[in-house]
């Protein structure tokens, strides 16, 4: 039973590692695709009759970045950061009404707030 659980955890870790590696490759690939030397000296075809191909490519590239960002948000969102960040304070976002309780400052900031230079 324990061995099964252990095996499952390992399998999940492996999946996570593969997913992260894939996302890294996608982001790296996208960065490389920005350097589109293949359209460097070409203006034609004029897409829709007036957009030079190099400009059209970078317009499409921009849309592709949005898709990759969506993938990152969906598959690699750092939700662990929210733990202990105290975002359950229930403040009205539009107005800012309802004073949020102050977060606990670390020692150095607490010292600064007291005006004590380290």
């Amino acid at each position: 039973m324990v061995a099964d659980k252990f095996g499952q955890t390992r399998s999940n870790s492996a999946k996570l590692a593969v997913k992260r590696a894939l996302l890294l490759i996608i982001v790296g690939g996208l960065y490389i695709l920005h350097q589109d030397f293949w359209f460097w000296r070409a203006a034609r075809p004029l897409v829709f009759g007036f957009i030079p191909i190099g400009l059209f490519y970078h317009g499409c590239y921009t849309v592709a970045t949005a898709i990759v960002m969506w993938l990152l948000v969906k598959h690699a969102w750092p939700s662990h950061l929210e733990e202990g960040a105290g975002d359950e304070r229930g403040v009205d976002g539009a107005t800012g009404r309802g004073a949020p309780p102050r977060p606990i400052p670390p020692p150095s900031v607490a010292a600064n707030r007291e005006g004590t230079e380290k």
Partner: protein, 542 residues
Amino acid sequence: MIPAIFVFTYLVIVLYIGIFAFRRSAHREEAEDYFLAGRSLGPYVFLFSLFGTNMTAFAILGSSGHAFNNGIVTFGLMASSSALIIPLSLFLIGTRVWALGKKYGFITPVQMFRDRWECSHIGTVIFVVQAAFLIPYIIIGVMGGGTALSAISGGRVPFWFGGALVAMVVMSYVFFGGMRGTAWVNTFQTVLFLSFGAIALVVIGIGMGGFHQSAEALLGSPATAPLLTRERISPLFFFSYTFIPLSSIAFPHITIFCLTARKMNQFKKTVILYPFCMLALWMPCVFLGVMANRMNDVPQIQEKIEARRALAIEGPSLTPDERDALREKMVADDVLLLLLDRYAPIWLAGLLGAGIMAAVMASDSQILALSTMFTEDVFAFYGGKKRFGEAAQVHTGRLFIVLITIVAYAVALRAPQNIFDLAVQYAFSGYAALAPLLVAALFWKRSTKWGALASTVWAALSVAAVAVFQYLVPAPAPGPPVVMWSIAGVEVLSRTPGGTAVFGLMPVVPMTIISALLLIAVSLRTAKPDATTLKRYFPGSR
């Protein structure tokens, strides 16, 4: 004059929003409320305000002006690379800054650096360098305001008055509304200038009788055909530009803005939709900037084209001063306004002029950030808050806003350099070289305050060195660069028509890489922070 009336109405509206935010603030004497809107911004205000904060006069006026003289390459240089790098840095760095800010109450990046690296005066050095880099960015806003108002009014409003008016309005709503007012105004402005792009494209397209003929005509002329390709730009230079957007997250107003989100989920929409916002704003501006080369019947545009032609043909035989005079004439930051003046009905030109003003007035966040940094990193840190109280801290922040505005305005009146160059050469490159600080603080346990100091000093010195170099060595005529230093036939340092090249790359590349290497090398040779500090930042690691 009718367009100017629209713009004045717009200025009154944004002023009202700022004052409205002041009246809605229940805790206006509290620093966190004034400087961070109580960490309470919702998803759409966060997205639009962050985008608006990143877009300055540069986005509309500078981009179309740059595209007018350099062609479609402008979009690839700044827009599509930013569409990748900026959301990615928000995803990786912004979320972490937010979490730490929420947990420990940080209001500025320097507060985080001081805590993370257990330092005090080194934090002050970082503050000074960040502030020095930020001021040119603020000046851009004032200059853009002057240029835009003057052009919209057909020259009836002089540059000095336009700049003063815009600076005054921005100062007022930042003064009263703080971050909440700034965020609301930015949201309104972003909606306005995002609409601007599409409307301007349609109206000018109809006015020009469609773009097909114009594009074909540009391609048919040897002088303008290269504007529709990137043949005049070296691939290395193009690659270099991808380092510039690294500056975005390192700009203190952006780092500080990351702290204003109510929840971390607020970043999701921003990360995904940011590229679409870039596309909606930059594509029309760049395209219209290129198409403006077809407007031979507008005397101001004719003059710019003529100056460009003269520089290209006669440039090598001219003196540096004569070349600078031609470059001054080539500056095309008003080209979109000239297009609107020519093709849009007068009321629409006014409305679109207000859209341009919306982008121009993005210096509000930088002014607020500088004030926040001063009051938190200097005033509060060195005992002012303890001695005079939190209300005095907020009053100091407001006073600082007035002072910054006056200084920026005074400089803007005397600074002749065009908006684009000023921004890229000083502020953007400097902040890109400071980006390793954030990465090291958040991801590298072994980084130390001395490493951070080395990186910061390097960023400041390298920016100063580039500025001095470009001042001493005049820009050559368009064509091959002037090689100042080469080793075994390899060009190490060159003065190009547009700036400086190091191994054929823009200076931002070696500046950022050396900054990172210095941070690593010095950190490895100095003592790391205390284990308890590291545990707070890296709780999961050993």
